[in-house]
């Protein structure tokens, strides 16, 4: 039921934006009563909208985890993550629409969700770092936990804003990953 309400609320946000979406709209869209929505989101509209953003961010990372499944090492998983994040953020019509019209309402919520996700991304990367350590490619003296934390920070940063890089260009993604991870793992000089 929670998921159904969140999906309905998301549809409303896509249509009307964050400010104009009400608990009543979400209830109607989901085909449930207002009381049902309040039972799942006692905080009302605020909690519902925070839930929608969380839900979307989680869905994004769920798809990302699937997209990078075939990666065998830290460089590969970073490259695949950046390419996936670039593609799906670029194509996310609702995100860009709300970002344009209501950045003040949206961004703190995304930041909130991402802050909570930072440890999740780090944990996701830890096995890759451990594997690099086991195969002797992790740079000596580097604490694996710190390394995973750092890579998570950089992945989130470049996914958030590509800056001077074109993450749609595979060669650039390769160069970027080798630059930013060059201190974490020893990079083979050629493919």
């Amino acid at each position: 039921m929670r998921t159904r309400i969140l999906e309905a609320a998301y549809a409303c946000v896509a249509r009307w934006g964050l400010a104009k979406t009400s608990v009543e709209d979400a209830a109607r869209e989901a085909g449930v009563s207002r009381a049902t929505v309040y039972r799942h989101f006692p905080g009302g509209k605020d909690e519902l909208l925070a839930g929608v953003v969380d839900f979307e961010v989680l869905r994004f990372f769920g798809r990302l985890a699937e997209a990078v499944q075939g990666s065998t090492n830290l460089i590969e998983v970073t490259e695949a993550s950046l390419e996936f994040a670039h593609r799906s953020l670029e194509e996310h019509v609702v995100l860009h629409q709300v970002l344009r019209s209501e950045p003040q309402l949206l961004v703190p919520r995304i930041t909130d969700a991402t802050n909570r996700l930072h440890p999740v991304v780090r944990q996701f990367l830890e096995p890759y770092v451990a594997a690099e350590a086991a195969s002797g490619r992790l740079r000596p003296g580097l604490d694996p936990r710190m390394a995973a934390d750092y890579v998570a920070r950089m992945a989130l940063s470049y996914a958030n804003a590509a800056g001077r890089w074109d993450l749609g260009d595979r060669e650039q993604v390769r160069t970027l990953a080798r630059l930013v991870l060059g201190g974490v793992v020893t990079v083979p000089s050629s493919r």
């Binding site: 003040q104 930072h118 750092y150 950089m154 804003a161 800056g163 201190g183 000089s189």
Partner: protein, 202 residues
């Protein structure tokens, strides 16, 4: 020597400075939203009319001037560190430490981030963050180009800016940007080996 200098502009600019310093104190204490021109005038020890004379645009103009002045101070301090460095390691270490320490100790910034994140976070998201990175890169890259080729200098300047933003925004148990030794370790471990590697590839 100074007698020939016109007194008016000097007085006006020190008056403006005083108002901006007062605004900074008020923002640190109450945040952006709750700070009114009355508060700023009282803190500066001037009348409301004086504030309006200096900043005819009112509160928005004061806020904008505060942001502009603080950014200029920030870049001047970081630039001073970058210019004084003799090696790439020193440039990155002193530049990142200066930036990290200034962000951490900035009272007004801390208040806004803690209590009015909606006023500042949009700057760090998506397209707006691209602009922030572009400004930081354009500023720092020429300094780093003393030690690196132009293209790499720009890449590393942007990379360092991301490190500053990330570790300033999310606390870390591993890295303390206000501690020079901690930053030097980060630069030695994460930046320098990568640059030695990429420098050796054709």
């Amino acid at each position: 020597m100074t007698a020939a200098a016109p007194a008016q502009p000097a007085a006006a600019s020190s008056q403006e400075e005083r108002i901006l310093d007062a605004a900074l104190v008020c923002i640190a204490r109450w945040g952006l939203t709750k700070t009114g021109l009355d508060d700023v005038a009282r803190e500066a020890g001037v009348s409301r009319a004086t504030v309006y004379r200096a900043f005819p645009g009112g509160k928005d103009a004061v806020t904008e001037a505060v942001a502009r002045t603080e950014l200029a101070r920030f870049f001047a301090a970081v630039g001073g560190q970058l210019a004084a460095a003799d090696t790439l390691e020193d440039a990155l270490t002193s530049g990142i430490t200066e930036a990290g320490a200034r962000i951490a100790s900035h009272g007004a910034l801390r208040t806004v981030v803690s209590f009015e994140p909606e006023e500042i976070l949009p700057l760090l998201a998506f397209g707006r963050m691209d602009q922030v990175l572009a400004v930081c890169t354009a500023f720092a890259a020429p300094h780093l180009a003393r030690f690196l080729d132009q293209a790499t200098a720009a890449q590393v300047a942007e990379w360092a800016a991301r490190v500053v933003v990330s570790y300033s925004s999310w606390p870390s148990v591993d890295v303390d940007l206000t501690d020079e030794r901690s930053v030097r370790r980060l630069v030695r471990q994460l930046f320098l080996p990568a640059l030695a590697t990429s420098g050796s590839t054709p």
